[in-house]
Point group: D2
Chain length 271, copies 4
């Protein structure tokens, strides 16, 4: 067998990220004592030095498969208490399989979190998009990147002030990213709440009429520009989470065909 | 050169639609005396009889290219007064290039239509998604399929009735399709207006504060369920357009993470 | 509380499909004795008679939630052995909550099926997109619609014949839909295999070099147009599955920027 | 009229990017003496100081509209010779309308470039995705960001070496970004060629059999990993373009369901 990957390349340029992407597979997480199954999308990359033609892609796939395989059922029970721990388990297996200086594992999936509706007190199961990155740099240090995307709404205070309380309202989407040291203890659920509590009102999958009324009243008491939502997420995230913080809010305007956006970056000191 | 396409296939099944899709190219339309350039997405298919292994794909591409080429600049000036006439021109060229019994040409693009804002009277350029299909059946008859997708809004009448005029509002998207004989005279612009006038209010790209106030007031005077929007489009389309009518409205609820939908089909008698 | 939904609408048009869409929630399936968790996308619709203004949307959400809730953990263990049984459970709960004549439940998710690689004999976990629809018509009869989408490849026999065995190869995606009576016993896994076995070669997530070689050799022994793939799926599906069959194959050509497509419909007699 | 935007916000955080996004409108470019029409997607943002509650969104829309309006037909003829000049024209109009320190204009569209096929010498019109950003920082300096996305292919050299010349081939997509000073003279067409020439072979919309044979032969003479494609783009771009360079290549593997990726960053010295 010829190992073309070990040959010299024509252009001897080092590459920072080489690997596999858009790979859907099974992941099991032991979350607060209960094993959950996910079908996330994985991206796993390593760096490639200037003098090697290619990486051995199948070893990256093996690292994912083994980190989750039946053979390590006990490991799942004991170790993967979060998506980022699963990501680190993939990095650790990769270390035994393929030489590299840098490695990244990204896992993108959905979380379902139960919420209580504001008036009838029912349980409503709410979906959120989350993504976790585990990034090992060339000195062996590990950082993690945590991302959540939450659906809420904005209620225009400018239109409300100019129309005797009448205004336009719309769905908005808030994204929060924290990039931090591996050791920081940050829960995706807390990041979701930080975003969700910053809209004019949270949204719910299940709303009986009394709940719908409560959400409507809450929206009118709490008008916000897309700028206000972004600032509130930013201010709270800075206080709660230590690390590099990125916030982006998009509001799908009900009076326009385009969207409006507010985005910023800051450094958080945590608590 | 071996013509594999002319061989016998292993499984002698006739195929109804074989061709090219997701092909982006230039199209020029002489619309009311002025030549406009578009970059639409094309799909062109023909049927394949049971005894032939394949079609000659490049002839479908040639039919598109020739129908729009520099060589036929005069033809563009004189003939293609609409996307559907361009589609028919592709079908006619295909008839000289490749034997077939059925042929379809689909063209998907955007239209920009100038509108006047409701208070300041400014011109606002509004984008709409449109798609046109030209379908020639096995007896040589030609039908056309016209589709428009329009962004508007819904204002919930149920929440308004239960909250002293307060309610939830959101962006909604309405789709109207008419499938009809080639000879029917239907303008995409009229289909766009039929949908746009059925929302709680139309939306605009450019709104000064006085315009925004006018749109907000119009929304509160005109609360509508997604069902109401679908019904109004359906009722008006039936009156205005002869052919098979399909209506679908999706409302991106501001109080939920999911969408709501209303969809129906009917036969229109036109005017 | 005012029930606006019960009022008369302005345009008294009956609507065929009104409901919720793009709702992501948890689903548990007892598949061959083991409970699996999914996070599918749901669409649930009912018809709306001409004289009622709206449907009660929250009751559709409740039907989903209850069909999967903790309260019915035993029901999950005992009853939902497939996505379509879960769909029917939603329909049955809907019957107790909201008057209607027609009802549809659609569930879209991914399946992961273990496969054995062709040379090294490893286990590779393969992802497939699936969608299941349960459609109850106005006479109470229930049909089901089963859809699978499978990633494979095509190897051009025309280029191979004209270039001494050299050819172009590309990823292709095959879709198979069967619409049939509720009582028909059809497994999504069998539909997936029907599509997967019709490509030039199946694809695998994990391939060691010896496996890669086996897949490459298989591709060159088995050149196929997109038309050939569509016909093979069609011919096998007709034999295996009773019901209305739709096949669509798209090949992401490696020598073009556009895709090629082959699509057809037939009636299957099953076995 | 109340100007809510001028009020103090609850959380006094400065925001870096506030504005409009996903706005589709008409753009006219005088490209080498001929006026072309595009329907791009615009994003326009400015910064918002800590003490102001909101920006005046409609002034951003006005800046786009005016930069392209009928009133400035002569300006189009004379000035907008590229998408980036159009972007700068929007920035300049914005300076007269809304106070700000930073401003960004992003324009995303498609280019169609005529190519000659390799054997029959026909003209084939090839589509490319392009995006241009004009970024004015707080000291008034203007940078531009130029992005192209090109469809090509990869031919695996490892499988070829291990299977007597047989291999797997697939569509690949290469992206090149250059961020540079406004004054640098870089043509999007040269960036497109830099990427297109780095694949195993370029792709064409129109290929007669003799052309298809030429492309197939070229692919087998030029096997490349995704890493090779990325390196060749990187090495050539460094030589040709001055500025910060980012390269990303994704290969839609024909033997896998997932994609492989090679990505890197460098600084280019230009020529």
């Amino acid at each position: 067998m010829i190992e073309t990957q070990e040959e010299k390349p024509l252009f001897e340029e080092p590459l920072r990220r080489v690997g596999i992407t858009n790979l859907r597979s099974v992941a099991k997480i032991n979350w607060k004592g209960k094993v959950y199954t996910f079908l996330p999308i994985f991206e796993v990359t390593i760096d490639l030095p200037a003098e090697k033609k290619g990486i051995h892609m199948s070893r990256l796939v093996e690292s994912i498969v083994e980190a989750m395989g039946e053979a390590v059922e006990e490991e799942v029970q004991g170790v993967h208490r979060s998506l980022e721990e699963l990501g680190l388990a993939v990095v650790r297996r990769l270390e035994k399989k393929h030489p590299h200086r840098r490695a990244e594992v990204w896992i993108r999936t959905h979380l379902i979190i139960p919420r209580t509706t504001p008036s009838s007190g029912r349980t409503s199961y709410e979906p959120y998009d989350v993504e976790v990155g585990v990034v090992k740099n060339s000195s062996g240090e590990v950082e993690k990147v945590l991302r959540v995307r939450v659906t809420g709404n904005t209620v225009c205070p400018h239109a409300m002030a100019n129309n005797d309380g009448k205004t336009h309202i719309q769905r908005a989407v808030g994204e929060l990213e924290v990039r931090t040291r591996w050791e920081e203890s940050i829960e995706l659920e807390d990041m979701v709440s930080t975003v969700e509590d910053s809209f004019s009102a949270p949204t719910y999958t299940l709303l009986k009429t009394s709940d719908e009324n409560a959400v409507v009243r809450r929206m009118y008491e709490n008008p916000k520009f897309v700028e206000d939502v972004a600032r509130e997420i930013l201010a709270k995230a800075k206080e709660r989470f230590r690390g590099k913080i990125h916030v982006r809010v998009i509001s799908h305007e009900s009076i326009h065909k385009h969207d409006v956006i507010a985005e910023s970056w800051t450094e958080g000191g945590g608590t």
